[in-house]
Each structure stands twice: as C-alpha cells, then as structure tokens.
C-alpha cells in the first residue's frame, strides 16, 4: 500500500527561535535526509512531527489524516533521539518491550515479537543487561529496536550516527540500510554530516535558520547548490562573488568564461576543487599562481594556490603531486568547462 506523509506549512516558535513554515512530502520507501548546521531547528522539527513539541501553525498529514491535533502517543510516529534516551532503570529487553505494552495483543505474541526484534538488531546477547551499561552503538540499536517494534508509520532519526566511534558508525550504518531496504518504512534522518547523506542516498533537504533551503538528491545538492549557504555547508570551497555578463563571470581577480549564461546578473561563482587542474606547463590556462600549501588528504592532495597575490584557490590534485610541486612553486591553473557553477545572490 502506498501512503504518503506531508508537512504543510508547519511552523513553531521556541522562545526567540522560530521554525518554518516547512513543506515536505515523503512517500512509502522514501529515505529523506535533512542536513543542516547545529541550531538550524532540525531537532525541533522532529519534535514537532513527533508531537513532543507544539506547532503553532500548519498541518502534518499522514495520507488524509491530520496528525497535528493528536497527542504524541496516538500519532504512531517513531522518534529515535540523538542520545538514544534508553530508560536506564530497565534492561535492554524491557526497553525494547516498552512500546508493546501499549498495543493490544497476547503476551505470547509480544514475547515472540520482542525476541524477533532483539534478533533482528543483534541484541540478543545484551537482553539482560541494564540499559545504562551498554555502549553507544549498542544503545542506538536498542533505541531503534524499541522504536520500530511499535511499527510506526514514519521513523524519525535524530543524528543516529553522532558521537559514535568508527565501528559503531559502520554497524549503525548497515542497520539503517537494513531498515531502509528491508522494512521499507518512511524515514526522516536528521544530521549535520554531509557524508551521511551521500552514504544513505535517497533524498536530501538542507535546512537553515528554521527553513528548508533546498531539496533534491544528494548529488544535485552537491553539484548544483542553489545558494551560497548550501554550497558552503556542503563543503564547497572557492566561492567568489561575481557579476555575470557576456558569458563571463567577473570576479575580483579575473574574468572567468562561462559555458552557459545564468539568468541573474549578480551572484556567486563556485569552482569545484576536484575539477581544477594544476600544472607547471602552460597549456590553455589563463591563471598563474604560487603553491602555498600542500596537504595530504589520503585519496587526494589538497593544494592551495595563491592567484594574483590575494586569492587562494583550493584544488584537489593527484596523490603524486607533492613530487611535482613544492611550496612556492609557480604553477598554472585551468579547469574543465563544467567546473564553474553560478549561484544567484
């Protein structure tokens, strides 16, 4: 059965901070990642959806049913908070079982279901431990199991990978993938880490100051940010304010030829660092610079080149480039045609 979950103009006020209005729509099987810097209202949004915080306007609709006036325990929306919020006085099993006690059903069935979920999240060996004693990653899994056992129609995840070490991250990531693929549940995943968005795929939305700034697939957001904020937040470097005319972007340090002219006149131009070529040989390049620093980033070298004495361009070069350039080497810079992206002001 196909169902959909909509936020229509949801807004809320928390003291001096105001959220929204926000419009979102997800369908069965969607995995929506909401990206945003700390303090942009991601957690508040989730709490509004779950009903533990009051919304001041708009409506939350599951199919045709308006959830807004319902108290949280009638909404059937699962929320996994950042710290997991396990009940420390219960064992892991009791934690997982907690939600079932509010659902009608026979004792035996509930036991069976608990066992199944403990097994699904590989928590069986922890079942008798007190919830306060499990590690961070295990705790998140318990929280997930506890949430999913009530079979919510929408799953909200608040920074499920935050504050975990590498191993915890890996196992959590695979668990999330399993939920996404296996249970096929509508999920909203909130995070400030863009790598998670790429890993988990699906749709992305970027939030800033209580509003959703851009929505789309992860790669779209990354390649074609609609605003300076999105570009910066998604790790964009080399963002320069520019004036566009005659298929050219005029920046403070030079003129950059564009393949297609944008519809606006003033804005920003972004040069993707991985598309920049740095070489000592002048081929068709128009810019000359001096290497300021080279940093090994594992898969590539991050090379900062000072152009025209004032501006630093960041370029990602091959891993052997440190043999080629030293700090202070004079180099030529050019880029492929699609390296430039224009953003309206």
């Amino acid at each position: 059965m196909k169902s959909s979950f909509c936020l229509c103009d949801v807004s809320a006020v928390f003291g001096s901070f105001s959220l929204g209005p926000i419009n979102l729509r997800i369908d069965t099987g969607d995995y929506l990642v909401i990206l945003g810097p700390t303090g942009c209202g991601k957690t508040s949004l989730l709490r509004c959806i779950a009903g533990t915080a009051c919304q001041s306007g708009g409506s939350i609709k599951l199919d045709e049913c308006n959830l807004s006036p319902l108290p949280p325990y009638k909404r059937r929306i699962g929320l996994v908070t950042q710290m997991g919020d396990l009940f420390p006085h219960m064992t892991v099993r009791e934690n997982v079982e907690f939600g079932l006690s509010y659902i009608h059903g026979s004792r035996k069935e509930k036991m069976k279901k608990t066992d199944r979920y403990l097994d699904l999240f590989s928590l069986t060996h922890l079942a008798r431990r007190k919830a306060g004693t499990v590690s961070g990653g295990e705790g998140r899994r318990v929280a997930l199991a506890r949430c999913l056992i009530t079979e919510p129609s929408v799953l909200l995840l608040d920074e499920p990978l935050g504050m975990l070490d590498h191993n915890g991250r890996q196992s959590m990531m695979s668990t999330l993938n399993m939920i996404h693929k296996g249970l096929n549940i509508m999920t909203i995943h909130v995070t400030h880490n863009r790598h998670e968005a790429w890993h988990l795929g699906g749709r992305c939305a970027v939030m800033n100051k209580g509003r959703i700034v851009q929505e789309g697939s992860a790669s779209d957001l990354f390649r074609a940010p609609k605003s300076k904020f999105v570009a910066e937040f998604l790790g964009g470097e080399n963002i320069f304010s520019a004036v566009f005319s005659n298929d050219t972007a005029y920046v403070s340090w030079g003129e950059l030829p564009l393949t297609s002219m944008p519809v606006f006149e003033k804005g920003y131009v972004v040069i993707r660092p991985e598309r920049i070529r740095v070489s000592q040989v002048k081929n068709k390049s128009n810019f000359k610079g001096v290497v300021e620093s080279i940093q090994d980033c594992g898969a590539f070298m991050e090379c900062r080149v000072r152009v025209n004495g004032s501006i630093c361009l960041v370029a990602h070069t091959g891993i052997d480039s440190s043999d080629e350039f030293r700090i202070g080497t004079a180099v030529y810079i050019d880029w492929t045609d699609n390296a430039l992206h224009c953003i309206a002001e």
Partner: protein, 469 residues
Amino acid sequence: MILPTIWARGMKNNASSPFRFFPFLIVFLHLVLLVVSSKRGWMPPFEFFSILLFVSNCVCAVITINRKVNVTMLSAIMLIIAGHAVIGHRIAPDSLTSGAILMVNILIVYVGFNIYTFLSGAHFAVFAASYLVLFYIFIIQMENAEALFILSLMGLAATARKFSLISYFWALVASFTVFQPYPWQSLAILFLIITVILSVPEEDRSPVFFIFLVCGLALLFFVLFPVFVLVFNEDVRSLINVLKVHDVKMALMRTMVTATLSTIILGVFGIPFSYVLSRVKFKGKTLIMSLMDIPIIIPQSAAGIALLRVFGHNQVVGEFFLRVFGIQFDATMLGILLAQVFVAMPFMIKSAYTAFCGVPPDLERCACTLGATRLSAFRRIALPIAARGICIGAVLAWARAAGEFGAVLFIAPYPQTAPVVVYNRFLSLGIVQTAPLVAALIIFSASLFFLLQISARLLPDIHSREDKA
C-alpha cells in the same frame, strides 16, 4: 656482668674456627659462676634473676651460633637484662613485677631497633616521642599507673611501625586518659575521625584538604560528642527497662505510626506536585519554591501556635471541621499528624523535586512517542528513576516528623509522642531519670534512620551511570 663483651667475642668466630663453641663455654662458665656464687653467698640461690640471666645467656649462645640476629640489638637486650639483674629489685619490689617490666623493655628494644633499621626516621621519632609521652602520662601524671604503662608500652611496641596503627593506638590511649570521664564516647568519635583521615587517598593528601577536613571534623566532634555521651553513658539494662514503661512504649508506637502516616500523606500529595514543579515552567515558581521553606524558617513553637490559631477547636476553621465532620485537631492524633505534615513538608517536596530534576525530560518524551500517555510515562519512567532520591527524602521527612516537638506540643500535647514524653519526664523527674529514655530514643531513632537510609540507598543509582554514558 661481663656478658656482652664475651658474647660479642664469640660472634667474631666464623663457622670453621675452633672458637665457634666459645659461647657454650661461656654458658658453662656462667653455670659454674652461678653455683659458686650461691655457695659463697654472693647471690641468693635460685634468685629469679640469676636464673633468668642464665637462661638468656643460653639463648644468646644459641643465637650467636646461628648468627641470624642483629648483634647490636642483642647486646642492647643483654645490657637491659644485666641492668635489670643489678637494679631490678630496686625498681620493683618483687621479681615477677621486675620480670614483667624486663619483658616489656626487651620488647621495646627489639621493636625500636627494627624500626630504626628498617623504617624511616619519622617512624623512629614517633616511636621515641610516644614512649616519652606515655611515660609522662602514666608514670608522672597518673598515680599508680605502672600497670597501665606496661600495657601501653606493649601496645606501642606493636603499633609503632605503622602510622595508621599508631594513630588508632593513640586514640585509644588518649580517650582513656585525657578524655577520661567519657572514654568510650571519645574513642568512638576519634576512631571515626582517624578512619576518615587515613582513608583519604594518597594523591589527595594536600595540607589544605587536611586542614579543611580537620575543621569539619572538629565541628562534627562538637556535634556528636553530647549525643555519644548520652548514649554510651547509659547502662544497657536501664535502657531496656525504660523501654518497658507503658507510657514510653505507647509514645514510641504512636510516634512511629504518625510519622509513617504523615510521610505517606506527604508522598501522596507531594510527589506529584514536585513532579509538576520540576517539569513545568510557570510564573511564580520561584516564589512557590521559596514559600516551601517556611516550615523550616519559622520556629517550631510559632508553627504550633499558628496551627492552633487556625485548627484549634474554638477557631473558625477548627470549629467548622468539628461541626461538619466531627473532627477535632487539637489534642488528637490528627493534630499530631497535622503538625508533622507541616514541618516535614519541605524535606519531602524538595528532595523529590531534585530527584525529578535529575530525570531527563527527553526520556518521558521518548516514552510518549512509543505510545505511553503522560501519566504512564510518569509512572513507568520518571517515578522509578527518581525513586532513590524520593525515598531518601521520605526517610528525611519521616525522621523530621518523628522528631517534631515544638509544633506537636502546642497543638496536641496529648496523646504524647516520644519527644513530648521526654519533655514531660524531664519536667517531672529531672535529667537523671530522663537520660536513659533519651539514650534509648536516640539509639532507636538513629538505628531506624540508618536502616531506612541504607535500604533507600540500596535502590539502584541510575544517575551515576547516566553520567558515565
């Protein structure tokens, strides 16, 4: 006599030399000397010391051959034995007393040498100073205390090598000499203080902490001392006898029942209230929180009169209750309950408030998203987590209610509760007759209080684990 030198001579021989049996020769010579001297009348035959000297000479001979013992120490011991042999009968009137003193002296020398050899100068200084102080206390200060001196020297010998042991030893000695009229009391308190100080871990032993700790402990001593004096000074039998008095027994029962009832009342009304206080922000919350302290601030007698002014049977409210429900507050159990609830309220509510503040509200929100209603989240999440704090608060409130005197005296002097009984007894019979009752009360309530405290602390402590995570 000439023993030490000869015997040291024996020491010099190594194992292979023909002189290695020299000590036996000395022993033999000594035997001859003993026999000859007793025949000639130089010494009384089989005098205790001549025999002792002979025996110790034999022992030394054996040890010299085995050569396992510190030579200097052994010479010192031999010197002491010889000295006792010469002047022993002047120090003590009979040889057994002298022998006991000798024994203790040997022990002291043995321990002293070992401390000097194996331990730091500080240990030895403490040892020597302790000896002198003990000598001063028992021989010069106290009359006829040689017996105690011997005992305490033995104690010193056993404990001098460890600072912890010797501090306990000195606590014992000091409480039985300096704090003489109250030895057991001061012993208990001193042991408590020493245990506290000694158990401070090595890395925290800074002088500042030490001074602060001593300041606090001095205060504690000041507070505990009267209590301990009262408790320890009473004979156990008189305590039991006083508990058998019907009035006292009834009053104790009554106190327990009313205090428990008022704690239950406070729990029923106070716990939900403090939960709301901890969860909800509203105007005047600070005001309410500070108004809560009124029962602590105002004098108990004032509280009693205030209650009487309102709930007395000839006052408006009291009369209303009397007329409508037939309930009278003054001079009834209800009055006692009223006074106890009044004074114990802040303890219950404040501690429950703190306990609920320690429960993260997120947990309850989480429970709500899982399908729990607010009430059920309170019952299943907040209450169990805060249980420990609430229980400790309830115990405090219980103790406060049981010990309430001023307010109860005004609103319900009869039926008597335990504190009122104490007061009445004091008025009619005087302090001597009241002391056992008070001691019994203290023991009773203290033991009950600690029992409750311990059982409350047995509840799982959830917050420490939370912090760790």
